[in-house]
């Protein structure tokens, strides 16, 4: 029997049962289990199978609940499993227009590679369940957001389970990595970089950690933390934007060069009366890398530390290739 048949039968049985089913009822009666159930014998393999199936089903967003009934709690006999209909079904007043469906199709397409591709694929199946046909956008779009950092997946999973994580972090400008213990608040993509916004348990405050500077594997602990309110993410984004607003550099660009075209089009760029550009940036190290790529086409006038950083980078690259 295919795996999905067993999973489907389990969901149907638990949805239909108002008061829930005990584990032994499930194993002895539900399709896919009952065929392998031994009435008087060892069912430990089947029980382990049931545990894995429960996890698989919950991962799809199906609220598979465990309820304890009776005074003698803690024993298997009194534990019942069920899927409450109200928490399972999409609320009746939620519908999506064809325009919204088109936008959601595009939003799902963004993740077609990498960690969230399974989630977006399944979300689309559920959306199509509603039967709305999307309008094709007038022009084809193929947006793509890739998460290259291995840390993303364990962090996202810790974020979902509200457990502390531990990793080695190489702070920009420091020579050696330090172990951080963090309560994840949000995964944020800002200025093209993924970062973890979280509460640093040793520094007692929120910090942003660039995912590409996490130099070890992420260890997920079993220590839970109190979930942060959703506004915390908006606040973090706003703070990042404020930093970006505050940090400016004056850059001279070679007229009619690639640097001139692209830096002019960068978000927030202003052209000063003398023709130089005022640019905003979030992270001096990342910005210095970007400007260094333009070689002789772009020269930082100020601030001095950024000017030095770009010069040192160019000297380093020249030396490495000399």
């Amino acid at each position: 029997m295919p795996v999905e048949e067993r999973l489907f039968s389990l969901v149907l049985a638990l949805l239909a049962s108002e008061h829930g089913l005990t584990k032994s009822e499930i194993l002895s009666t539900v399709q896919g289990y009952r065929q392998r159930f031994a009435i008087s014998g060892d069912n430990s393999n089947l029980e382990r199978q049931f545990e894995r199936d429960k996890d698989d089903i919950r991962e799809l967003g199906v609220p598979l609940e465990m309820i304890e009934v009776g005074a003698d709690t803690g024993t298997n006999q009194n534990v019942r499993y069920r899927i409450p209909r109200g928490d399972y079904e999409l609320p009746g007043d939620i519908s999506f227009s064809p325009e919204e469906t088109t936008l959601l199709n595009l939003a799902a397409m963004v993740w077609r590679e990498g960690s969230l591709s399974g989630e977006s694929r399944r979300a689309m199946l559920k959306l199509r369940s509603l039967g709305v046909t999307s309008d094709d956008p007038v022009i084809g779009y193929a947006p793509r957001l890739r998460v290259r950092e291995a840390a993303f997946e364990p962090l996202n999973s810790a974020l979902e389970r509200h457990v502390l994580v531990r990793f080695e972090y190489l702070k920009p400008g420091e020579l050696s990595a330090r172990v951080r213990t963090v309560a994840p608040i949000a995964l944020i993509q800002h200025q093209g970089r993924w970062m973890l916004h979280g509460e640093d348990q040793d520094a007692a405050g929120t910090r942003n950690f660039l995912l590409r500077r996490i130099v070890s594997a992420v260890t997920t602990t079993s220590k839970r933390y109190e979930p942060f309110p959703p506004e915390a993410t908006a606040t973090a984004l706003r703070e990042l934007d404020e930093i970006w607003q505050q940090r400016t550099a004056i850059v001279e660009v070679e007229p009619d060069s690639d640097a001139a075209t692209r830096l002019h089009k960068r978000r927030g760029t202003t052209v000063l009366p003398d023709g130089t550009l005022q640019l905003h940036y979030s992270d001096a190290n990342i910005f210095a890398d970007e400007i260094a790529g333009f070689g002789p086409e772009a020269v930082v006038r100020s601030p001095q530390p950024l000017r030095d950083a770009v010069r040192d980078r160019l000297i380093r690259t020249a030396a490495d290739h000399g």
Partner: protein, 325 residues
């Protein structure tokens, strides 16, 4: 819309599909396998397989023995003879399932990422849509956020060009440094993280070309009708395709940064690891692009050979450094 491979489904995907298909069939008294396949983006055989499974599934029921009335039923003749689906009896399921917290989070972050699209310019409508996703999820969506950007004016013009069927023109500076006025029939807008591209029929070159949006300046709508629409041209799935004239370059890169160059690595390249660095072969169309790329990864990546490539990078960086003396 780009043509895409039909998905290979895992057991979890298949379960999500079964739970989604049932409510859809409940709303359609009679529907062809072909129509369902198109709607769900699957093959007709995947649909038939799922419908056959639904047709024999159900609940244990009062007798705990899956009696006829405890099972779904379909019109088997219609399925086998007419390739039509008619659900005649249903159990347990009344409605579509909720999104999982992670699914809702993925869609919300995707919408944020697409905020530059002209289709997304109605911010109130987007906020409403995101709120519906949150409310339609089985748990609070994971906090995954993407910085939103302003609507891009060039994207607006590209859309206008397609809607009105006239060419768009713009100044384009290639990586080699030459600027030309290009006349283009837009075919598809693509993105790769923070970078956006237009793929279109380039009347100057008489071929399909890819343009970086941030290298486009002075865009304008022309009065010339387009020669090709998206449906006339089959675009390769890959944004960057190798060409026979590509140059091969051996590089050494910090292992932690190797993924940044993954797009350039040649197929079947021999990759060796030593002292935390990776040595591999990448392909580039010319050294103008290579020198910019390498200069933006100082100390992280180094060209090993050929010597001309090393020299191109060195000269570029030296010329840059000279401007600080």
């Amino acid at each position: 819309m780009a043509s895409r491979k039909k998905p290979v489904l895992m057991a979890q995907d298949k379960l999500a599909f079964l739970l989604s298909l049932v409510p859809y069939l409940m709303d359609h008294d009679r529907v062809s396998v072909a129509e369902v396949a198109t709607h769900f983006g699957m093959t007709p055989e995947q649909i038939r397989e799922a419908v056959r499974l639904i047709g024999v599934s159900g609940i244990p029921g009062e007798t705990q023995s899956y009696q006829h009335e405890d099972l779904f039923d379909i019109s088997w003749d219609d399925l086998e003879e007419n390739d039509q689906i008619v659900l005649t009896h249903r159990v347990a399921i009344d409605d579509s399932p909720r999104f999982s917290a992670r699914e809702a989070a993925a869609l919300i972050a995707g919408l944020q990422y697409l905020s530059a699209l002209p289709e997304n310019s109605d911010r109130t409508a987007i906020a409403t849509l995101m709120a519906k996703l949150s409310r339609g999820a089985s748990g609070a969506p994971n906090q995954v956020a993407v910085e939103s950007t302003e609507s891009d004016a060039t994207l607006g013009l590209i859309r206008q060009s397609v809607t009105t069927g006239v060419q768009i023109e713009f100044d384009y500076r290639g990586a080699r440094g030459k600027t030309e006025r290009r006349h283009v029939d837009p075919l598809r807008v693509e993105s790769m993280d923070a970078d956006w591209y237009l793929r279109g029929w380039d009347h100057l070159r008489g071929a399909v070309r890819t343009f970086r949006l941030d290298r486009i300046s002075n865009p304008a709508i022309t009065s010339e009708p387009i020669a090709f629409a998206a449906k006339d041209v089959s675009l390769p799935e890959m944004l960057f395709e190798g060409s026979k004239s590509d140059l091969l370059v051996t590089i050494e890169v910090e292992a932690s940064a190797a993924s940044l160059l993954a797009d350039y690595v040649t197929e079947g390249a021999v990759t060796t690891h030593a002292n935390g660095r990776v040595r591999t072969t990448i392909r580039v169309s010319h050294y103008h692009g290579l020198k910019r790329l390498l200069a933006s990864m100082p100390g992280v990546a180094t060209v090993i050979e050929p010597p001309e490539a090393r020299r191109a990078v060195a000269e570029w960086a030296e010329a840059g450094a000279a401007r600080y003396r």
